[in-house]
Every structure is written in structure tokens, then in C-alpha cells.
């Protein structure tokens, strides 16, 4: 049946991508419908009870700046918060929080339920409806057809999902939920290439059967900062995780039962994430490592179910129990839910534009694990971009595209659409070539303008951020233009502060560049230097201390932008370009890079090939000019 209400945007799937996509579309005034298999699992965490982490914290903060919910949600439901990498430079500081999984899920559902313009319906979508290369609606498993102008597909691991526990195998979207069987065939019939990937998760343990006294607790930071720039009155508990270790006995049990593993027995051949290997993999590949770390993480505030981070496994139930019980502190442990592996259909993301719209079907957007990524944060970042761009598509406006020099989200999407992926893609800071400039701390400064231009943040917020930015600039300028002189009195003060004396007239910025000197140290030297709030102080310190490196990155970025701005015409004919190898030509025709910059990042595209492209582009341009 045709459902009578017509929507602007339909989002399929209420996972982390789907939540952000539907919320932002609704917030941008689109009549939005979220259809998901089970309304009770909206915002559910399939795997670890944590948000953020290295490089992922960056993504969460970017989502927040673009009007998303993830940061707010964890700020209200986190169990402990921590800045990782604090001993390293500010570019790689990352926020991470343990989440109260049920609370996280319920709050998210609550927010969605109260969002204007957003309807939610429980159903499985079986088919995307298309006419003349444009998406027109979706059809559910009970035959309902919902008409709309744009569709965002965020089905995670659910398409033809297959779960493996030991030698048992069954169809499921994730361990305890039904899969989505038909949707990937519908996508395939629309002309999209579908591949298969694999991932896995760890056993959940019964807290009452763990001897925590034998284990080392790990707390979060004492006075943590929230994720969201909107969070006020931040006050969350600090509930510990516990550290445990595998040992030789554990390893022996695993090694002697490899025939029980679907991965080693050959049942599963799709590729899993190398950055997050199963315990079987770790033991086999790093056989000389005497022990592996495990983090026992609470799944909720009551801490009955414990997530055993570090023990992804798909070994049989008995083997899981046996190796767990060989671990100190877990001698009497009971498993509540076993670990498992899952493999599932994904869509080769090189078929997408940077807007996350498919190149083939207008108005069809894909986001999240369906694009070959893994992780809640990666999903949320794509979700919000897809949601925004679905709305912009309907409003007939240019899409929001974040570049690699603007945001981790930009790096993530550019990598996906340019290079594709062979294993579930996870964000790393090392993927971001301009990492020094893409920090968590300056997310606001990086993205506020774009967010405000699309009305994703309020005017007051924007003005406050602008003011902060100005204040930082002023303070940096002041430090560079305030001079001190090598008087005996001043040098005496320097000595007392434990730093080298100066021999010539010196500006304060130069002093601040010394490792042992902070803004507050300068204040001791020059009392009337001016009070700065802690955020501005931190930014000023970072900008001055790292100035040389930042300059270098700005130079690189300038070069990068130049190539990005050389747009390859949409209908550029690669067949005409003499001298390209067939392989390169094939790749270019398949990906159809939007700019010369993107072409240069494609694997296998040489500088000579790029020269050829430039020459033929120029030739076409001149031909048009001379015929005009």
C-alpha cells in the first residue's frame, strides 16, 4: 500500500548513523521518517560500551559542531571520561568515555521521539524505489510504500548478516536481532557493487563471578571536560574499568582449539579488521608475546554485565569459557553472552560522491557501516553528513563537503570514496595528513562558520565562538609584540623560575616556546599580562609553541587546496586522453574523481598521468573558448 503521508527524507536504520542522519534532517526542517527493524534498539551499541577514543574523539566533537547528538548523549550517560594521549602533543589528545549502554540508547530514543518533523516506524525495508535514476521511496517487508525525495541507508552490519559462534552459524543483523535479507539485493539491482566484510565482538561476563580484588582498577580523569560544547553543569560518575591479562595457559587453550574457530576452519573468508584482531589472531600471530591486556568495562551503572575488551572471539562457547577461566580474577567467571563473529554485505564506497550520495541514483545516500567502516563515531560522522546533504539535495543547494584539511570527517569520507576499503575502515590520527591542525581542541574554530552558514548552530553560539577566536588572535599578537630586556632583575626572575636567562631583547612568544614555560609562568614575570580563560590560554599556548610546525602544514595545505580547486569536468572523456595506461584509465573512469587533487590520491595514479589529465582538461577548455 502507498502510505498517504509523503516525506522529504526516509532514513533506514536507527543505529548511530541513522540517528544523526534523521535528527539533523528533521532539525533542518525536512519531514523525516526513520524506519528501523526494532524501535527498542535505537542507538544501541553493538560492541564496546564506549564513545570516543583516539581519532574517534575528534569525530564526536565534529558531529557535535555540526548539530549532532552523539556528544550530548554521552555527556548525559557516560560512566567515566578520560583524555587519552595526554603525555603526547595536543594534536593527538582524544576524549573517550565509558557509556552506560542502556541509558545511552534510551536517551537517544527519547531525544528522537521529541524531535519535531521526525516520525519513527518499526519495519524492515526490503526495497528502494527508484524512477529514472532518482530515488522515490522505500518499500517494507509488509508491503508498505513510503514516498519521499531522498533516502539515507544506514543499515550497519544487518544486510545478509551471518553470525558465527564456534562452528554454529545463523543469520542475524547482530547477535540477537534479525538480519535484513532483501535490501542488499535491491541495492545490487540498482547497479551498486556489494562486497562482504567481517567483524567480531567479545564475550559479556557476569560481574558477580569476577574477583575484582585481584584486578587493577582504572578510573577516568578527575575533572573531565564534556564532549559537547553545549553541555553545561557537567557532572558524571567515575566508575572504574579493570585491567586483566591473558597468560600462557590461556594461549595454549586457544591454540589447541583453533579447529573450533570459524575463521581458522575456513567457514568465514571475508576480511576482518586488522586493527582489532580476535584473540585467536593475536595469539597465533604474536605467539612470542607472553600476555595480552584485557579491559573489563562496565556496560551500565549497575555493572552486572561486563564487556571484556581485548577478547574478540568466535571460538565455541566451551572454549571461550575455558580460556576466560584461565585468567587471573576470572577463575569462576560465568559468560552472560558469548563473543561472536559476524559477516555482512557492504557497498563499495567508491561508488559514492563526497556528499555520500550514490553516483548512480540521485537522492540515495549511504552512511555508516554499510560503507565499509566500523565504529559508532565513524558511523555518526557519516550519518550527519548524509543527513545534511539529503536535506540540501531536497532544497537544491550545494552539498556540505568537508575537506581533508578541515576535519577528520573529511578525511574519513575522502578515503572511502577515493580509495575504497578492503577491511572495515577505522579512523586513525595517522590517516589525517594535517593532523597537527585538526585537533579536538579547535573543532569549534574549524567548523563553526560552516555550521552556522547552514544554520546547524545558533547565532549566539556562533558569535561566542567568533569572539573566542578573536580573543585568541589578540593574545597571540600581544605576546609576539611585548618585549622583555636582559636586565639583571628580569634575568634573576627567570633564574628563579628555573629557565635560561635572556641575552637580548626578546618577545614573550619566544619565551613561551620554551618547554618549561606556560602562559601562567609569563604572568608571574609580567603581572599585568591579562587574564585568559582556560580554553583561550590553551589555544594561545598551542598556537605559539607549535607555530613552526603549523606554518609547514599551512604550506602543505595551500598546495593541497590548489589541486582540490582544479575541478575535473563531470563528463570528462578519459578515453580521449592518450598515453594513459589501461589500468589507470579504468580506475579514473570508475571513480570519476571530482578534482585533480582527488585523482592524485587514487592508488596507482602517477604524476605523469596527472599531467596528461591537466593537458587534456586545458585542451577541452580552450576548445570551448575558441568555439564560443
Amino acid at each position: 500500500m502507498f502510505y498517504p503521508k509523503r516525506y522529504d527524507v526516509v532514513v533506514i536504520g536507527g543505529g548511530h548513523a541513522g540517528c544523526e542522519a534523521s535528527l539533523i534532517a528533521a532539525r533542518m526542517g525536512m519531514k523525516t521518517l526513520l524506519i528501523t527493524i526494532n524501535l527498542d534498539s535505537i542507538g544501541a551499541m553493538s560492541c564496546n560500551p564506549a564513545i570516543g577514543g583516539l581519532a574517534k574523539g575528534h569525530l564526536v566533537k565534529e558531529v557535535d559542531m555540526l548539530g549532532g547528538e552523539m556528544a550530548r548523549n554521552i555527556d548525559e550517560t557516560g560512566l567515566q571520561f578520560k583524555i587519552l594521549n595526554k603525555s603526547k602533543g595536543p594534536a593527538v589528545w582524544s576524549s573517550r568515555a565509558q557509556a552506560d549502554m542502556p541509558a545511552y540508547r534510551l536517551r537517544m530514543k527519547h531525544i528522537m521521539e521529541h524531535q519535531d518533523n521526525l516520525d519513527m516506524k518499526q519495519a524492515t525495508v526490503d526495497e528502494i524505489l527508484e524512477e529514472n535514476g532518482k530515488v522515490v521511496g522505500v518499500k517494507t517487508n509488509i508491503g508498505n510504500e513510503y514516498l519521499c525525495s531522498a533516502v539515507v541507508v544506514t543499515t550497519g552490519t544487518f544486510m545478509k548478516g551471518k553470525v558465527f559462534i564456534g562452528l554454529n552459524e545463523y543469520s542475524a543483523g547482530r547477535a540477537w536481532e534479525p538480519p535484513s535479507i532483501k535490501l542488499s539485493d535491491s541495492l545490487r539491482s540498482l547497479g551498486l557493487r556489494i562486497g562482504r566484510l567481517k567483524t567480531g565482538t567479545t564475550p559479556r561476563l557476569d560481574a558477580r563471578t569476577i574477583n575484582f580484588n585481584a584486578l587493577e582498577p582504572q578510573f577516568g580523569d578527575e575533572n573531565p571536560a564534556p564532549f559537547s560544547f553545549k553541555t553545561e553543569n557537567f557532572n558524571r560518575p567515575n566508575i572504574p574499568c579493570y585491567l586483566a591479562y591473558t597468560n600462557e595457559k590461556t594461549h595454549n587453550i586457544i591454540l589447541s582449539n583453533l579447529d573450533q574457530s570459524p575463521l581458522y576452519s575456513g567457514m568465514v573468508s571475508s576480511l576482518g579488521p586488522r586493527y582489532c584482531p580476535s584473540i585467536e589472531d593475536k595469539v597465533v600471530r604474536f605467539y612470542d608475546k607472553p600476555r595480552h591486556q584485557i579491559f573489563l568495562e562496565p556496560q551500565d551503572e549497575g555493572s552486572t554485565e561486563i564487556y571484556a575488551d581485548g577478547l574478540h572471539t568466535s571460538l565455541g562457547y566451551e572454549v571461550q569459557l575455558a580460556f576466560l577461566r584461565s585468567i587471573k580474577g576470572l577463575e569462576d567467571v560465568e559468560i552472560m553472552r558469548p563473543g561472536y563473529a559476524i559477516d555482512y554485505d557492504f557497498v563499495d564506497p567508491t561508488q559514492l560522491k563526497h556528499s555520500l550520495e550514490t553516483k548512480k541514483i540521485h537522492g540515495l545516500f549511504l552512511a555508516g557501516q554499510i560503507n565499509g567502516t566500523s565504529g559508532y563515531e565513524e558511523a555518526a560522522a557519516q550519518g550527519i553528513i548524509a543527513g545534511i546533504n539529503a536535506a540540501l539535495y531536497i532544497q537544491d543547494r550545494d552539498p556540505l563537503i568537508l575537506r581533508r584539511d578541515e576535519a577528520y570527517t573529511g578525511v574519513l569520507i575522502d578515503d572511502l570514496v577515493t580509495k575504497g576499503t578492503k577491511e572495515p575502515y577505522r579512523m586513525f590520527t595517522s590517516r589525517a595528513e594535517y593532523r597537527l591542525l585538526l585537533r579536538e581542541d579547535n573543532t569549534q574554530l574549524r567548523l563553526a562558520k560552516k555550521a552556522y552558514d547552514l544554520s546547524l548552530i545558533d547565532k549566539t553560539d556562533f558569535e561566542r565562538i567568533e569572539e573566542t577566536e578573536q580573543k585568541i588572535e589578540e593574545s597571540v599578537y600581544k605576546l609576539k609584540n611585548t618585549f622583555v630586556f636582559p636586565t639583571a632583575a628580569f634575568n634573576q626572575k627567570l633564574k628563579e623560575l628555573g629557565t635560561e636567562i635572556i641575552k637580548t631583547k626578546t618577545d614573550l612568544a619566544k619565551l613561551l616556546r620554551r618547554v618549561e614555560i606556560q602562559y601562567d609562568t609569563l604572568k608571574k614575570l609580567i603581572p599585568d599580562l591579562g587574564e585568559l580563560n582556560s580554553f583561550i590560554k590553551q589555544e594561545v599556548e598551542i598556537q605559539i609553541k607549535y607555530e613552526g610546525y603549523f606554518k609547514l602544514q599551512y604550506q602543505q595545505i595551500e598546495k593541497f587546496r590548489k589541486y582540490e580547486s582544479l575541478i575535473i569536468p563531470k563528463n570528462f572523456d578519459y578515453n580521449k586522453v592518450g598515453g594513459l595506461s589501461n589500468e589507470v584509465r579504468g580506475k579514473l573512469m570508475d571513480i570519476r574523481p571530482e578534482s585533480i587533487g582527488q585523482a592524485m590520491r587514487m592508488p596507482g595514479v602517477t604524476p605523469a598521468a596527472v599531467s596528461l589529465l591537466l593537458i587534456y582538461m586545458k585542451r577541452d577548455e580552450r576548445k570551448i573558448k575558441s568555439s564560443a
Binding site: K88, R274, P277, F286, R431, L566, L612
Partner: protein
């Protein structure tokens, strides 16, 4: 988009009386100001200035003429200049090196022409031709450069690459994973890895600078009885590349050799004086002696025979002497135009035989191809190092970065900054060690470190 400055020796990598170094790109006159002896000049368009090129210590490297071509009057359409220096590979390379050290980069094959086209200095019909040149030149230049480096230093380069990747992966794994007992790399281990890279780079550099001229190629001798066409062939060969050539004093007696390039590959022609003399000199009987000498000294022996007459005793004598070294011999059957049918080429026991005519030019292309093929094969497994100026610059920059890296590792600098230096090193060495991508790094990271909680 072309605001980087490119430079190359426009006259090619051969000995010549005058070598021209072409430099193009906006801002190029800033470089010239730094390296030219006359500081107060405004470098006006279409003017030629006489002066000296100075190195970083202010010492004179060469006496030169500098021609100024301001945009749009230059070949490329950009601001550019050309330095005409005194030929000689050592000198022109030294001048190029100074230009590169002061902010230019080595031009890629066909790049001047490409810029000329993009800047509207050529008409549309030339686009295709330009494209062809670029794809042909770059593939062959790349091919040769890679063969040279890989052949001579495959081990070194492999190890450098491995070390850099591991160093980067180790640095990154500690940034992208925390709370893990991941890497047991001590500071000493990291320092010694950087030191190793440094040593390897400097050993390549040493080898490349030791002894032989950088652009020595394989040595070729031409032998044959009097009047068989040796001196005609010599002139033809030199004519193949139109690239003659100043004389380099030989090592023994009055033997003189000459540098030539064939298809862009350098060769050394031995004892050219001996050949030239033979036509009007009495010492004709040196034929055998020259053959013996050639066997001792050369990599390729071009043995000439005259197709217009029967082989005689002299020919057989030469054949006999060459037979043990037949793998180095190319039998050149000359005077194909006057071929009388008397001479059955099956008589000559050398695998490589080429019929030519110095008079009509027949077969010379085939000879050039054959020489090229031998040279490429040879480059791959010889221990002669031949590197161009840009490769040397790269090595030196790489070594300097290693030094910086050592200091910063010692000083416990932030790993995110260390990473900037390591990737900087990779960028610089890209041409030598091959492109290293994030994926390569992640491969090494996941292979070597047990990541993932």
C-alpha cells in the same frame, strides 16, 4: 598552480661545450639573486648578464651568462632564466645543484613543455604531441632511474624503506593506540634505526661520488681492419645524438675517449683518437693491438666487417681474438649498400649481428636499439652508480633530515611532531625508495605490533 620553480639541464646530460640550465617558475629571480655574483641587477626581460655563480660559501663555481625571459616571453610563459655555463658535466651539475639547493626542484620529464602548453604558449594541435612526450619520457626516465637504483642498491633501498616504515609505524602505533604494552622499542633502538638510514644514504652517496664520472656509461670500442668503416661509424654514432662532445683525457697513453648519449643513455666511446688517426696515418697495423686493448677495457665491442668483400686474414684474426668474449661483441656488417653477396654472414660466429651502411644510414637505428637494450640490462646489475643531480640532492636532504630526527628523538619531542619529520623524510626519498602510503604504514603497523584491545 605552477608556482613551484623547476630546473633542469636543457642541453641534456652530456658533455658539451656550453651547457644551459633552464629555470622556470614565479619567484625564480629570487633564486638567481641568491646565487649570482652581481647583486644589484634588476634582471630585465630579454637581457643577458655576464657574471659568476656562487656556492653557499660565496666561492665561484663557474663563469656564466644568464639570459632573462620574463613572463610571458619565455618558453614556458612563466618568469624564467637560463644559465649558460662552461659545459663539463661536473660544472653544469654543480650549478644545477646550487639552483636546486636554493628552492627549485628538478623538473619532471617534459615538464617545461607541459607548462608551456598550459600557459598557452603552444597551440591546440600540439597537445597530443606534448602528451606523448610526457608519457614516453617519463616512463623511460623512471624506468632507467629505477633500474639504476634498484640494480645497484636494491638491498640498501629495501632496508631503508623497511626501516623508515617500521620507524613510522612504531611512532604511529604509540599515537593511535594507548594503554597497551605495544612496542618495546627503546629510544636507543629508534636512534639506531635512524642512524642506519643515515648510514645507508651516505653509503649510496659515497658510491655515487667515488671514482668514475657520474655519467660514465658503458664503454664501447670500435674495432676492425683498416677501411672497414670505423671512423665513418664513429661519426654516425656521434651523429645519432648530435652531441659532441669535449675530449676527456684518457687514462693510458694518448688514448682518448668521448662521452656520448644514445637514446638518453650515456656511453663512453674509447680510443676515438685511434680511430680517427687510422684514416690518414701509417700505423694501420695497430688493428690487432687495438682489438686486444678493447677486449681488456670495454663493455661492448663493435667489430666491423665489410660486406662488400670477402673476409680476409685480418678479419679472422680479429674474430679469433674476440671469440672468447663473444657476449660483449656486436658484429657490425658494414657497407650494406655495396653488399656483393660474396660474404656469407653465417661465417661470423657472433650472436649479435647487425647489417648497416654508414653511407645510407641503414641499420643505425637497429644498432642504437641494441645498445640501449644492452645498457638497460647492464645498468640493472652493474656496480657503476650513475645518479643525476636531483637524486644527489634528495640523498643530501634526506641525510640532513636524519640528523634533525636524531636530535628530536634524543630530545623526546612530541611523537606527533616526530611523525612530521619522518613523513618529511619519506616525501624526500619518495623518488628513491618508492611511494609510501598510509596503507603501507598500517600494513607494517598491524604486522609488527599486536594492537587492539
Amino acid at each position: 598552480m605552477h608556482d613551484d620553480i623547476i630546473a633542469a639541464i636543457a642541453t641534456g646530460y652530456v658533455e658539451s661545450a656550453i651547457a644551459v640550465i633552464r629555470v622556470s617558475g614565479y619567484g625564480c629571480y629570487d633564486i638567481l639573486k641568491k646565487i649570482f655574483s652581481r647583486k644589484k641587477i634588476n634582471f630585465e626581460d630579454k637581457r643577458i648578464y655576464y657574471g659568476h655563480i656562487l656556492d653557499e660559501n660565496g666561492s665561484i663555481v663557474d663563469e656564466v651568462l644568464v639570459s632573462i625571459f620574463r613572463s610571458p616571453h619565455s618558453y614556458t610563459g612563466e618568469d624564467s632564466f637560463e644559465i649558460s655555463c662552461h659545459g663539463g658535466l661536473m660544472v653544469s651539475n654543480a650549478v644545477l645543484q646550487i639552483v636546486l639547493n636554493n628552492g627549485a626542484r628538478m623538473a619532471r620529464p617534459g615538464e617545461f613543455t607541459k607548462r608551456a602548453f598550459l600557459n598557452g604558449k603552444m597551440d591546440l594541435s600540439q597537445a597530443e604531441a606534448v602528451a606523448k612526450v610526457i608519457s614516453a619520457k617519463s616512463s623511460r626516465a623512471l624506468h632507467i632511474a629505477q633500474l639504476q637504483l634498484k640494480g645497484n642498491f636494491s638491498n640498501e633501498i629495501g632496508e631503508i624503506r623497511k626501516d623508515i616504515l617500521l620507524l613510522l609505524a612504531e611512532n604511529e602505533v604509540n599515537i593511535d593506540y594507548v594503554d597497551e604494552e605495544l612496542s618495546d622499542f627503546s629510544k636507543e633502538k629508534r636512534l639506531s634505526m635512524v642512524n642506519n638510514i643515515y648510514e645507508r644514504l651516505s653509503s649510496i652517496l659515497r658510491a655515487s661520488q667515488s671514482g668514475k664520472s657520474l655519467f660514465d656509461g658503458m664503454k664501447i670500442s670500435i674495432v676492425g681492419k683498416p677501411n672497414v668503416g670505423k671512423s665513418s661509424l664513429l661519426n654516425k654514432i656521434i651523429g645519432i645524438d648530435r652531441s659532441i662532445v669535449t675530449d676527456i683525457p684518457g687514462t693510458t697513453r694518448d688514448v682518448v675517449s668521448e662521452q656520448i648519449t644514445i637514446k638518453g643513455i650515456p656511453f663512453t666511446l674509447l680510443d676515438t683518437a685511434g680511430i680517427r688517426k687510422s684514416s690518414d696515418d701509417v700505423i694501420e697495423n695497430l688493428g690487432i693491438e687495438r682489438t686486444v686493448d678493447a677486449i681488456k677495457k670495454s663493455d661492448i665491442i663493435l667489430a666491423l666487417f665489410d660486406l662488400s668483400s670477402q673476409l680476409n686474414e685480418e678479419d679472422y684474426d680479429i674474430i679469433n681474438r674476440l671469440q672468447k668474449n663473444s657476449n660483449r661483441v656486436i658484429a657490425i656488417l658494414n657497407k650494406y649498400d655495396k653488399k656483393s653477396g660474396l660474404f656469407n654472414k653465417g661465417i661470423i660466429p657472433f650472436k649479435r649481428q647487425i647489417q648497416i651502411s654508414c653511407k645510407t644510414g641503414y641499420g643505425l637505428e637497429e644498432l642504437a636499439n641494441e645498445l640501449e637494450e644492452i645498457a638497460i640490462g647492464n645498468i640493472a646489475d652493474s656496480d657503476i652508480v650513475s645518479m643525476n643531480a636531483s637524486q644527489i640532492t634528495i640523498l643530501k636532504q634526506g641525510m640532513k633530515l636524519c640528523k634533525d630526527l636524531l636530535n628530536d628523538i634524543k630530545g623526546d619531542i612530541d611523537p606527533a611532531l616526530i611523525s612530521v619529520e619522518i613523513t618529511g623524510l619519506i616525501d624526500i626519498l619518495d623518488e628513491i625508495i618508492g611511494k609510501i602510503t598510509t596503507e603501507d604504514m598500517l600494513d607494517v603497523m598491524f604486522r609488527n605490533f599486536c594492537v587492539g584491545k
